[in-house]
Each structure stands twice: as structure tokens, then as C-alpha cells.
Amino acid sequence: MSDPRELYQQVILEHNKKPRNFGKLEACTHHAEGHNPLCGDQLDLTLVIEDGLVQDIKFQGSGCAIDVASASLMTGAVKGRPVAEAEAMAEQFRGMVRGELEPGAQTPLLGKLTLFSGVKDLPSRVKCAVLPWATLHAALKGEAEASTE
């Protein structure tokens, strides 16, 4: 990417302005907090998991547009999916933004989340995009905290 502005596509800007699934599920079955020590961003993720499915998911916290849009799109993408699939998506997302997987053929579960593939050209922002997924992974494993350090 020659210009970081290319990453800031309309979808990302829009999700940053109006994040979906923002808030906290009081009656959650799974919960984790994510931290990015580099910038102090925090993410609080709550989930309801029943019958092996992500029935509901919400997030709250403060972060940059990449972080917020990633959390907004992630929550929308994993809602209603089997836990194993959500974990596989997290793996594919991580691989994609780190430049280890080509968006598309190698990330079949990600769909429109491939719009984050440009993050690989901004190494300093990879952790911002990954934080929600790292937090999801921690919550699904029953861990209270996730860190991108």
C-alpha cells in the first residue's frame, strides 16, 4: 500500500462511526478483556454461547478506527456461527493481516472482512486490527484477558 489512506475505506470509517453490537451482555457466558499495551486501547467482549453456537456477542471499549471497525465487523461476522468456525475465522484473520495468508482463496471464511488485508502494509497497525480477534480467542478459551504484546 503506497498510502495509508487506502486502508481507511468507507466501510471502516462507517463502522468506526456507528459500531455494530456495541455494548455489554449482562447475562453472558463468556467474557474477556483485550489490551494493546502499545497504545492503551482496551476492548471488553461479552458472548452468549449455547449449543456450540455464538448466539450473541457485544463489545465496548476505546480504540482507533481500525480497532473499532474490526470489532464491529467481527461481532457481526461470528454471530450465529459455530464456535469452531469463529476460531477458524480468527486464525484466518490473523494470518491475513500479518501477510501470511492471501485474502480470498486462503481465507474462505472471512468474506468482506478481507477489506482489512491492507493492514499488512502498515505493520504498526496490525495489533489494532487483531485485538478484537485476540480477545475473542481468549474469551472462547475461558481466559479473562488478551494482550497483543
Binding site: 498510502d3 495509508p4 497504545c39 492503551g40
Partner: protein, 411 residues
């Protein structure tokens, strides 16, 4: 200030910095990040290269001509530092790896000796982590208490409470000379005088001060003064701890090893006098010589001229940025160095940092290793532009235009 700004030939100075000719994302680089690390001018790079190519060997060892030469260059750099900060003796100049190590050295030697359970360590509310964490570690180990000098919304320390905060239990005061986030120039001479009136020694973190101000440690009467080479147009990996000789002589050594001893037997080791006893192992010789060359370079430009030029940039940039709707500058102290931290409504500083980067503008975005300052101002992070003597008003205009573009994108 009566200094003629024209006497600092910025166009000529810029030629000493090859990085300023770089193109970033198709745009000329605008380096506004000197508070994170200053750029090294060619004469400094050349001096270090010459040492590496033609003069390299170890110091304080051997009888060879080369070894003597290297030692002379290395010790000459120490003398340059002594003169630069107005210390009385080269024995008061300890080489370290940087400001952080300098402060850790004081905490782990002076601090561990002086601080006991229930004692107090007084820090200012605008310290960065390097002047918080070493003291916190010491306080935890000893059962001591950290106390904080508060500040107002402008980023000025509230010194009305200082005399109350200084108690018979206070064992040391740690205060930053110039805040890396807010740019505030603290009245350290007054703070030191008031601490001394109660018999309390003061460590000054001067990392952001030495590039901008003429520092005189004797005039300040500082007990300790810490700074880094890389913020002073020198290399990374070298720093200085100034300490009053009486303190350094009384302090135990910290790191043990070669070069800091008088004699070693299986039964007992005796140590060198200061500063040698604090300088175990082979030092960063080229870096020390490079720092000496950086001091030569800055002195040749003229510290008054540098200060006047940077002040002009600060005033101009403050005026231009203040005109942007939704932008708020953190740190509006009356006495300020050329550092501007800001936040913009609806745009996280990390996004701002990336978007400015896309315009070739290099700034720092984050918490600046000063999370308590962020908490005080209720922001997660800021974008910070810091100006050096090689920056221009045109570059301030590029920054302003880039900020406006980012705001437009986010609207």
C-alpha cells in the same frame, strides 16, 4: 529574545540531514518527531564512522597508541558533556545507556541506600514512565510511598502544595525538566531550592530539556541530572548521569564487572572512584564520541539561535493548529518547549498518526510512555508534533494541511 533568527541558516543546516531528502509515500518527509529521537547530522555520523574505520579499539586498557587514542577521544567527550551542562568536574559525569538507565542507577544505588519502609518519594504528575517505574519498583521493595506533585489543566505543576508534600520522610524528589507530552518547562531551580530547604535531594530528568535549553546543573543546584544522547542529535545507546560528586562518592556501585574495579581477589573486590565505579564493562565508545561531536555541532550552531528558531516554530504551529475546529492542544503552559500534543474530536491519535504518515509527516501517536499524564487529561493517547532546529514554517504548513485532510476523511 534579541537573537537574529536569520543567523540560523536553516537551509544550510538541513543539508546535514540526509533523511530530510527522503520521500515517504510519494511525499517529502517532514520529520516532526525529534522528541522521540533527534536526527543525527552528517558531522556526527562521520565522526563515529571515522572512529569505527580508523580508530577503533577498547578504552582504558592496554598501552598501545591506538588504545591511548581511543581513551583520549572517549574522555574528551566526557569533558564536552561536563562543559555543556556546567558540571564542576568530569568525575561527576557517568556514562550510561540513556536517561532510563541513569534514573535506574540512582534508584538502585542512592535510592536503595536512602529509602526505607514508610519513606516517601516525591514525583511530579507529568513524569514519563522512566521516572516513575524505577521508583515504583524501589517503593515496592522497600515499603515506601510514592507521592505526586499535581498539575493544572494547562500542564503546569501546582507548587503551592510543594512544601506540604515535602515531609521529613521524603528521601528524594524526581522531576522532569521539560515534559515530553506537554512541552512544559518546569521551574526546576525553584523546586530544587525548596526541596533543599528541607534537606531533600532532587533528580532532574533532562531528556527533553537538553536539546532545547541551555542547562547549567550548578546553577540549578541539581543533585542528579539525567539525559540521553539520541535526543541531543547524537546516537542511541549512550546517556549521561550527572551527580554531585559527594553523592556519587557515597553511592555503592551498581553493575559489577571489568573496568569498575581497583582490585579483585577471591576474598574481596575494591572499586574505582566515581565515575569509574558505575561504568562496568566495555562502554559504547563510538556512541560517546558521537555524543561529543553532537555537542560540538549544536554549540557551533548556537544554542540561543536554536532556541529562538524552535520558539518561533512553536508559536507559529500553535497558532495554526489552534485554528482547526475540533482540535485541542494538551499542554498550554506559559513556559513551553517546541512540543505540541493534540487530540481531534472523533479521530483516534493512531488513525491520525497513520494518516499523517501517508502525507510524509512523521509524528508520534500514542501515550508517549506517560500513561498517568493521559489519565490526568482523560485521553487514551495524543498525536504529538515536536520541532527541531532543522524544521521550517513550511513544514508546519504541511502538518496543518495533513491534519485538515484527515479530518475531512473522517467527516
Amino acid at each position: 529574545m534579541s537573537v537574529d533568527l536569520k543567523t540560523l541558516d536553516v537551509a544550510a543546516v538541513r543539508k546535514d540531514f540526509p533523511l530530510l531528502s527522503r520521500i515517504l509515500h510519494g511525499k517529502p518527509v517532514v520529520y516532526l518527531d525529534s522528541a522521540v529521537s533527534g536526527q543525527m547530522p552528517v558531522p556526527v555520523i562521520d565522526r563515529m564512522t571515522r572512529y569505527q574505520r580508523e580508530e577503533h579499539t577498547n578504552v582504558h586498557r592496554g598501552v598501545s597508541t591506538l588504545s591511548q587514542e581511543a581513551t583520549d577521544f572517549y574522555e574528551a567527550a566526557r569533558e564536552k558533556v561536563r562543559r555543556f551542562i556546567g558540571a564542576g568536574s568530569v568525575k561527576e559525569i557517568v556514562w550510561t545507556r540513556g536517561t532510563t538507565e541513569s534514573i535506574n542507577l540512582v534508584a538502585q544505588t542512592f535510592g536503595r541506600t536512602a529509602v526505607k519502609a514508610g519513606d516517601e518519594i516525591l514525583l511530579s504528575a507529568m513524569e514519563h514512565h522512566a521516572n516513575i517505574v524505577p521508583w515504583q519498583m524501589l517503593a515496592e521493595e522497600k515499603g515506601a510511598v510514592l507521592k505526586v506533585i499535581p498539575m493544572n489543566d494547562a500542564g503546569e505543576l501546582l507548587l503551592d502544595s510543594l512544601d506540604e508534600l515535602l515531609t521529613e520522610r521524603t528521601k528524594i524528589v524526581g522531576v522532569v525538566h521539560v515534559s515530553n507530552v506537554l512541552g512544559t518547562v518546569n521551574p526546576v531551580k525553584e523546586i530544587i531550592a525548596r526541596a533543599h530547604a528541607k534537606g531533600v535531594p532532587v533528580l532532574v530528568d533532562g531528556a527533553q530539556a537538553v536539546p532545547h535549553l541551555q542547562v547549567d546543573v550548578k546553577d540549578l543546584d541539581a543533585d542528579f541530572y539525567a539525559f540521553s544522547g539520541h535526543k541531543l542529535s547524537g546516537p542511541t545507546g549512550i546517556g549521561v548521569l550527572y551527580g554531585k560528586l559527594a553523592h556519587l562518592e557515597a553511592m555503592p556501585p551498581w553493575h559489577g564487572g571489568g573496568n569498575m574495579i581497583r582490585s579483585v581477589s577471591w576474598e574481596k573486590t575494591t572499586y574505582m572512584a566515581a565515575p569509574g565505579k558505575f561504568e562496568a564493562g566495555t562502554p559504547p565508545i563510538a556512541a560517546a564520541i558521537g555524543l561529543g561531536a553532537a555537542i560540538d555541532y549544536l554549540e557551533a550552531l548556537g544554542l540561543d539561535r536554536i532556541a529562538a528558531h524552535e520558539h518561533d516554530l512553536l508559536v507559529y504551529a500553535t497558532e495554526r493548529l489552534t485554528g482547526i475546529p475540533g482540535l485541542r492542544i494538551l499542554g498550554t503552559a506559559k513556559d513551553k518547549a517546541s512540543v505540541i500534543s493534540f487530540v481531534v474530536d472523533g479521530i483516534h491519535p493512531h488513525d491520525m498518526g497513520s494518516l499523517l504518515d501517508g502525507e510524509g509527516v512523521v509524528v508520534r501517536a500514542g501515550h508517549h510512555c506517560a500513561q498517568p499524564v493521559m489519565t490526568r487529561f482523560k485521553v487514551p493517547a495524543t498525536t504529538r508534533a515536536s520541532f527541531a532546529y532543522f524544521n521550517t514554517r513550511d513544514e508546519v504548513d504541511v502538518l496543518v494541511s495533513a491534519v485538515e485532510k484527515a479530518i475531512e476523511l473522517f467527516q
